[in-house]
């Protein structure tokens, strides 16, 4: 069964000329990759674009690929780099419209948060919270957001994130701490973690601080 082969075995089979092996790879990674990009960008259409582009680049590079890193690392590295390019383009657009919005104008990405598509198969509570959480996530600096999403959603270990992002592991971890602290602040301001916070004695603890 193709499902039981590792990613790397599947890619090797594809290198040998088996298109079905690539299809198996795609089925395995399409949702995690799409979700990663969706969390990073907060926009379904762009997430779809970049996810397709990521896989097309995998197709293009497959022959030259050597098994030095995990397939997943390669996949997310490409996607992450596409996000960086995208952000760079967006930054220009935002600067362009800054005058119209004033210095405190929120970047346009808040508007593009998916508020639709509530999946009935999931908990109603979770579906209700997700747009809020997504907005909180988008309020983090991109380099914190990517570390958070890669670790939390894509399940990439800190060491591999460090390789992808090109910083050392400790920097990755401090970005993760900032991300968690930032999320905690936004969420508690929005009253998301009230119930759980009430169980904690004393004032709220700030992550990354004494």
């Amino acid at each position: 069964m193709a499902q039981e082969r590792t990613d790397e075995e599947l890619l090797a089979a594809y290198q040998q000329g088996d298109p079905a092996a690539f299809e198996a790879l795609l089925r395995r990674h399409r949702a995690p990759l799409f979700t990663f990009l969706l969390r990073m960008l907060g926009d379904r259409e762009r997430a779809e674009d970049l996810a397709q582009e990521t896989f097309l680049r995998i197709v293009k590079g497959a022959q030259a690929w050597e098994h030095r890193a995990r397939f997943q690392t390669w996949l997310f590295t490409i996607a992450r780099n596409l996000c960086v390019d995208q952000a760079r383009r967006d930054r220009f657009r935002r600067a362009e419209s800054l005058d119209a919005e004033g210095p405190d104008g929120e970047p346009a990405m808040v508007e593009s948060v998916p508020g639709d598509a509530i999946d009935p198969s999931r908990g109603a509570e979770s579906a209700r919270l997700r747009p809020l959480l997504q907005r909180a996530l988008l309020s983090l600096p991109a380099e914190q957001r990517e570390v958070f999403v890669l670790r939390e959603q894509a399940g990439v270990p800190f060491r591999e994130i460090a390789e992808m992002v090109g910083v050392n592991e400790n920097t990755v971890k401090s970005r993760m701490r900032y991300a968690l602290e930032g999320l905690r602040k936004v969420l508690s301001a929005a009253g998301v973690s009230q119930e759980t916070a009430a169980a904690e004695p004393g004032p709220g603890v700030r992550l990354g601080r004494a």
Binding site: L26, R30, A31, R44, L56, K60, A95, P103, R175
Partner: protein, 403 residues
């Protein structure tokens, strides 16, 4: 297991990245340490609250189609020796490479009778055949090898496309389409407000690669898309610049004479711009901070600076945030009313500098913090924590943790 070690490994513990023995060690410490226990609890709480973000979402239907097509096309190109053929017209100069010498005995293959896909191009290469040979594999000539010495003459040679071309073209097309779509969206969204002049002069000349990419855009899409791309290239900050630090930033510390100096410097603006794009984006923020801080005895000025710092930090501009924090600390030091806040400002500056990877500067600020506010233990601890990852030798002020 020391407290510092444990603090270091809390994240690894939470995400299951420790082996069983190490995990048990850290857990044991956490159980007995109030600070670690609270930190771990806070961490777990955020993760629990953010759990809905972990749920997978499916891409829309039809997502796979183009990818699978490209994957199959790629396999065909790489694993079938006889593929589609592109005709290249080349002019062979007398001293040029004899095209047939590249593969003199190649059998002349007729193109397979399959329909040509869309990406097939008829390429006219003006130049020597050597150029054509460098670009692609020459399969054969269409006519028998001439016996006579070559004279300048047009040859028609058949060239098998280099394998990645199909995907290249698909990518270009996709990129061009998207760009065109974006332009449409952009036109819908933008107000008539004129764009600010892009900081063209500050940027180094575009490297060759970009020129190639531009051409790809021109080929693949409308002129609109290409134009917009050019504009963007001019305005977008280069990644290398983001990492670089304004040398004057480094020199700030020594010039720090009075709070008024600090304010004057801040109002001067440009000095605090580690990179051009940030200056554009944050200029209003900086102006607000400067004007608010203008009367140096304004008691609220440090708070406003801290706010600006927070915003810059939020925007991911750590060097700028650190600058604001240090300004705020300097103002607070002048008043000397609130040593805890001043110490925290410096601690935040250390954190920001560390996050920006400016470790030397971060260490300097940490030393300043421990020199000026030896009594502020929690701020000191935060500054230590921000840097412990890069500390080979513990800082002189570093005491065993407070607990």
């Amino acid at each position: 297991m020391t407290h510092t070690e444990s603090q270091d490994l809390l994240l690894d513990l939470a995400y299951g990245e420790l082996d069983a023995a190490r995990a048990a060690e850290v857990s044991a410490h956490v159980d007995g340490c109030e600070e670690c226990r609270r930190e771990k609890a806070a961490l777990d709480e955020v993760r629990k609250a953010a759990a809905p973000l972990r749920e997978l979402e499916e891409p829309p239907p039809g997502f796979d189609h183009r990818i699978l097509q490209a994957a199959a096309a790629q396999v065909r190109l790489e694993h079938e020796n006889v593929g589609q053929v592109i005709e290249v017209t080349g002019s062979v100069k007398p001293l040029g490479v004899d095209a047939t010498r590249i593969d003199a005995h190649a059998p002349v293959r007729a193109p397979p009778p399959r329909r040509r896909p869309r990406w097939m191009l008829r390429v006219a290469v003006a130049g020597s055949v050597a150029t054509a040979a460098a670009l692609a594999l020459v399969v054969s000539t269409t006519r028998p090898r001439p016996a006579a010495p070559l004279v300048e003459e047009d040859y028609r040679i058949k060239v098998q496309p280099a394998a990645p071309q199909a995907v290249d073209l698909a990518l270009r097309e996709a990129e061009a389409n998207k760009e065109a779509q974006r332009m449409v969206r952009q036109k819908d969204l933008t107000s008539p407000a004129p764009p600010p002049e892009p900081p063209v002069a500050a940027l180094p000349p575009a490297p060759k690669q970009q020129a190639v990419k531009l051409r790809a855009h021109v080929e693949g899409g409308g002129g609109d898309a290409a134009d917009s791309y050019i504009v963007k290239k001019k305005a977008a900050p280069l990644p290398a610049e983001e990492k670089s630090v304004d040398p004057s930033h480094r020199a700030l510390e020594n010039r720090e004479a009075t709070p008024q100096d600090a304010v004057r410097r801040l109002a001067g603006g440009q000095r605090y711009t580690p990179f051009a794009a940030a200056s554009d984006q944050l200029a209003p923020m900086r102006q607000a901070a400067a004007s608010s801080a203008a009367p140096a005895n304004d008691a609220a000025a440090p708070a406003r600076l801290e706010e600006s710092a927070q915003r810059a930090r939020h925007a991911g501009n750590y060097p700028l945030a650190a600058g604001f924090y240090r300004e705020a600390a300097a103002l607070r030091r002048g008043e000397d009313k609130d040593p805890a806040s001043a110490a925290w400002d410096l601690a935040h500056a250390v954190e920001c500098l560390a996050a920006a990877g400016l470790f030397d500067e971060a260490r300097q600020v940490r030393e300043e913090l421990s020199r000026l506010y030896p009594g502020q233990d929690t701020a000191q601890a935060a500054a230590r924590r921000a840097l412990r990852e890069v500390d080979v030798v513990p800082a002189p002020s570093a005491k065993p943790a407070d607990h």
